[in-house]
């Protein structure tokens, strides 16, 4: 053990290695307060925050009307060089990039929890049927009521949550939920996708086109009311994830091992399902079914942190970076601006192929 002998209580706050691994530390505070952390995860998260700031400033500066970085910062601190810069930065670009970060973060965290819940690297709101349910709900609202954006969002959330509950109940049986959850989710997703196609076939051309845009996932015209709604939703789930993060890691060892260690397996799993579903619902309501972020962000985060098990915080930051970066590409790098969903599909698809090829090779060796 490399842990130093307890050096008395001279300092109120101290950081000590736990000796459990070269990167495992504990932060001690007053009384018995102690919080474990991993140095590599902290470093990774700091790096991701740095990238996030770069994406943030770039998003605010770049566009049809380019604003110098110095002016962007001045505008953010309430000292704009001119009213136009104030309108463009604070009125247009800032809410859009904040929605991108919040939605990306929600998707990344949701994917990490779903992967842990299903004990499967493919577990994500996409695979588990949630996204298809949300799509079916939204398309139904668009085609039947022609609904406003808020109604479409409501339809998406209702469809997604109803699907999640149905999948959970169908998969619910003593033991072995992980794999059953995925199989039932895939089946439900396939049926709902065919329902979406059926509705699109029967729809008027214009309605079908607007449904199609929603189905791709887009951040166009996202404004401050979106930021507030998404922000409140995410803020409500974060404490829940903090409480769940420790029992969640034990559930990954199997229900019996977790119960033996004092974790209420069924209650933890239900909490995880609620948290992950709410996050996915927030994301889909705000931006439509943006694909692959929830699947790839947790993988990339784990690769960087080297963590065993879900690293929800890092996955959320990675999701924010991915969606914020993808939106930059979708708006300004492509010859014509595209919905961000087009870019995430391409990036995520390439990543998935690479991952499968790599796994395949490794299994052959």
């Amino acid at each position: 053990m490399t842990a130093p002998a307890a050096a008395g209580r001279t300092r109120r706050i101290a950081v000590e290695p736990t000796g459990l691994s070269p990167t495992a530390y504990v932060l001690r505070g007053p009384g018995e307060l102690s919080v474990r952390f991993d140095r590599r995860i902290v470093l990774t998260c700091s790096l991701l925050v740095a990238v996030l700031i770069a994406v943030f400033l770039t998003s605010l500066a770049v566009g049809d009307f380019t604003i110098a970085p110095g002016d962007v910062v001045r505008t953010l601190f309430g000292n704009p060089p001119d009213p136009l810069a104030d309108f463009i930065v604070n009125g247009r670009r800032l809410p859009r990039v904040l929605v991108a970060f919040l939605v990306g973060g929600a998707l990344g965290a949701s994917g990490a929890v779903f992967q842990s819940l299903s004990r499967n690297p493919l577990g994500s709101p996409d695979v588990i049927g949630f996204t298809s349910g949300a799509s079916a709900g939204a398309v139904f609202v668009i085609l039947v009521t022609g609904g406003s954006m808020a109604q479409v969002a409501g339809g998406a959330v209702a469809g997604g949550v109803a699907t999640a509950i149905a999948v959970y109940l169908l998969a619910y049986k003593r033991g072995g939920q992980g794999f059953r959850l995925i199989l039932v989710g895939i089946a439900a997703g396939a049926m709902l996708t065919s329902a979406v196609h059926y509705m699109l076939m029967r729809a008027e051309l214009i309605q079908a086109a607007s449904a199609q845009v929603w189905l791709t996932g887009s951040l166009n015209t996202r404004a401050w009311d979106h930021v507030i709604a998404v922000g409140i939703g995410v803020a409500l789930v974060v404490p829940m994830l903090f409480v769940l993060s420790r029992p969640m890691r034990l559930i990954e060892m199997g229900d019996e091992a977790a119960t033996g260690l004092g974790v209420s397996a069924e209650r933890t799993r239900l909490g995880m399902l609620i948290a992950a579903t709410v996050l996915a619902a927030i994301a889909v309501a705000a931006a439509g079914p943006v694909s692959f972020i929830a699947l790839s962000a947790p993988h990339l985060a784990r690769r960087l942190t080297g963590a065993s098990g879900a690293a929800v915080g890092a996955a959320a930051l990675m999701g924010a970076v991915l969606l914020g970066g993808s939106d930059l590409v979708a708006q300004w790098v492509l010859p014509t601006p595209m919905p961000v969903g087009v870019v995430t599909v391409c990036v995520g698809g390439v990543y998935l192929v690479w991952l499968l090829a790599r796994e395949g090779r490794r299994n052959h060796v």
């Binding site: 000796g19 459990l20 102690s34 409480v243 990954e252 060892m253 033996g260 065993s308 098990g309």
Partner: protein
């Protein structure tokens, strides 16, 4: 004599509709190394799972320290009783020390995640299982015997007075089986813990158990010290095996020698 810390009364145990045991009562003597034996599908693991609160009895109740086991919070029960399940999943890439440290969960809180008592318990658990040198290795790189010792260390770090082990020697070769059983013996003798294990090998059970419970068709057919319980009639009755019993030349405990080339005697 006061009632033992862990006992089950009139347990009816079932998986869904399939009833395994009816009105089964069992007491685990305090400070014993109790071993449950019996043929495949006799309900021995089911009984252990019920004692470990993993399986809710259809009828009857398990008592722990004078209370219904269900009256404790999951965490409180986990401070009194530890379980080594038949199979657990080691999270990908986890190190030995990290896995062992998870045994401390029932002693921790949301904002008390690592105390000096935790450091000491993990170090002690790794020392007594002989895995201190492996502490920074990844669990998925270890051999089966090493891995089983790591899981055992995790349950030891939990520091419960009662330990339940569900077939701790499965998938291990003979040397590692003996190693794990010797370790259990040490825990029982030098730490005074109460151990309950399900074992397949009757000879191992005879050598290590202080209290033997033999089961058949969901019922307890014999229980007591191995030397008092194990004889040719009992082995024929429980396992349907004709055999001779001799004294183990190492320990003097009963040693079961299966009869050669004789038809298996079916039970009456």
């Amino acid at each position: 004599m006061s009632e033992p810390r862990l006992h089950g009364n009139d347990l009816t145990l079932a998986y869904d509709e399939r009833v395994i045991s009816r009105e089964l009562s069992v007491s685990i003597p305090d400070g014993s190394f109790t071993v449950i034996v019996g043929p495949n599908a006799c309900g021995k693991s089911t009984l252990l799972r019920a004692l470990a609160r993993m399986l809710k009895p259809l009828a009857g109740a398990v008592h722990l320290d004078g209370q219904l086991i269900t009256q404790y919070s999951t965490k409180e029960a986990a401070r009194r009783l530890g379980l080594l399940p038949q199979s657990s999943i080691a999270p990908e890439g986890i190190t030995v020390a990290d896995l062992v440290s998870r045994g401390r969960y029932p002693h921790q809180k949301l904002f008390r995640q690592w105390s000096t008592a935790d450091t000491e318990a993990v170090a002690e658990a790794m020392t007594s299982t002989g895995i201190t040198d492996l502490r920074h290795r990844r669990v998925d790189e270890l051999s089966g015997g090493q891995r089983q010792r790591v899981w055992l260390a995790m349950v030891l770090a939990q520091q419960t007075p009662i330990l339940l082990l569900d077939e701790p020697t499965t998938f291990l070769d003979i040397a590692h089986q003996i190693e794990v059983l010797d370790l259990c013996h040490d825990l029982h003798v030098s730490h005074g813990r109460t151990l309950v294990a399900v074992l397949h090998d009757l000879n191992h059970a005879c050598r290590y158990a202080t209290h033997l419970i033999a089961m058949r068709d969901g019922e307890i057919v014999a229980e007591g010290a191995p030397a008092d319980v194990v004889d040719e009639a009992m082995v024929r009755d429980v396992f349907g095996l004709a055999c001779r019993i001799i004294d183990d030349p190492e320990t003097g405990t009963p040693l079961v020698i299966p009869a050669a080339k004789q038809p298996v005697v079916t039970t009456a």
